[in-house]
Subunit: 187 residues, 2 copies
DNA sequence: CTTTTTCATTGACCAAAGTCAATAAATCAT
DNA sequence: ATGATTTATTGACTTTGGTCAATGAAAAAG
């Protein structure tokens, strides 16, 4: 919770009142390993801040799991597309370890947007940050080889492979498990 | 200009005063074919609304032009990453035909954010929309073959190939010109 | 209109990732 | 612990896009 307050303070200074009202909307939840935070077909009506645990964001295409994102402590976890458009989610969000999150529902967040310009701004800054995040990922798909993407990923999160099965990492960097195995072998 | 007002009205209702203040910040510019709206190394301190003309967003990597985006009438054209972070642009933005745009500078937009909550909200909605746009493009790189990306693109904009050279389209969908030529041949 | 330059096509060959299949290693459940 | 299941590795072969090079077509410049 302190972590979240610090994160927000880097973006916008909230008054005690604003923070209190925001905090009043947060719902603490725990999710066991393998539990689903969101399933395909459901509307994603929340954004959650991760206090502990890792999540994967994936869907099934032609019988095959495709991992689009991992979420770690300190990240926001949501299907932001579904959250924004109210369309049903095309992805599952699953805990890969026991997890603790703080959820805020869309209707509550929108009420806060209406009430406080500072929180409206926070919403803008969060959207802008998510834009920057996804831009980086698109860049890496456009400009780098699977091998480079693998290197980038483990540089950024060296303990990822201790936390998630290798075939999920393979999918995340856009190759088959066999190929990641070979990438790792030639080093 | 009417086009822009209509676009905004779909997102947020602006009062006459708000719209007038916004409009006062807009700078109309014309750019001849092949002119640069932004060059690599410059900070992108603006967002522009396209009234007429097409732009490409590209950079040079290992001596080769890589096209990351096209912008059409009705779109916003900017290096949004540079705009948000104040980092120098890693891309050029070039007019592919004679073009007319309405530019707003970052400092003016931020002043409007401070003054009007409705425009702050507009900024959030624009960021959210750009997020959705780029997410779609990432999806298409993750899930579809170059052939499918080509089909998607010409379905969306059937006259694109009359407007831009084929090698730019090839780069945009992530293949070499020779490969796009072969994709087109096998149909 | 003719020359030059740019752009598109085609062919032969190469490199990288995918596919299919077998096996080994690790993890999970009882 | 042990047997079952899931995950990772390795090999042989295929597919797809990249590379290099030649040729043809179209567009721009004079």
């Amino acid at each position: 919770m302190e972590q979240l307050k610090n994160y927000f303070n880097k973006l916008v200074k909230l008054t005690d009142q604003e923070w209190a009202d925001f905090q009043a909307c947060l719902i603490k939840e725990t999710h066991a390993k393998k539990a689903y935070l969101l399933e395909e077909g459901q509307k994603c009506d929340f954004i959650a801040f991760i206090e502990a645990g890792t999540f994967r964001f994936y869907h099934i295409l032609d019988g095959e799991e495709i991992v689009t994102a991992f979420f770690f402590p300190g990240d926001f976890v949501t299907n932001y597309r579904s959250f924004l458009t109210d369309n049903p989610s095309d992805h599952h969000i699953q805990a890969l370890q026991d997890a603790i999150i703080y959820k805020i529902h869309k209707k509550d967040l929108h009420a806060l947007y209406d009430r406080y310009q500072s929180i409206e701004r926070l919403g803008r800054l969060i959207a802008e940050n998510l834009y920057l995040t996804i831009t980086k990922r698109l860049d890496s798909f456009q400009h780098t080889s699977p091998e480079e993407r693998y290197q980038e990923l483990i540089n950024r999160n060296s303990k990822l492979l201790q936390e998630v099965p290798q075939y999920m990492v393979a999918s995340y960097i856009g190759v088959k498990p066999e190929t990641l195995s070979r990438i790792r072998a030639r080093k």
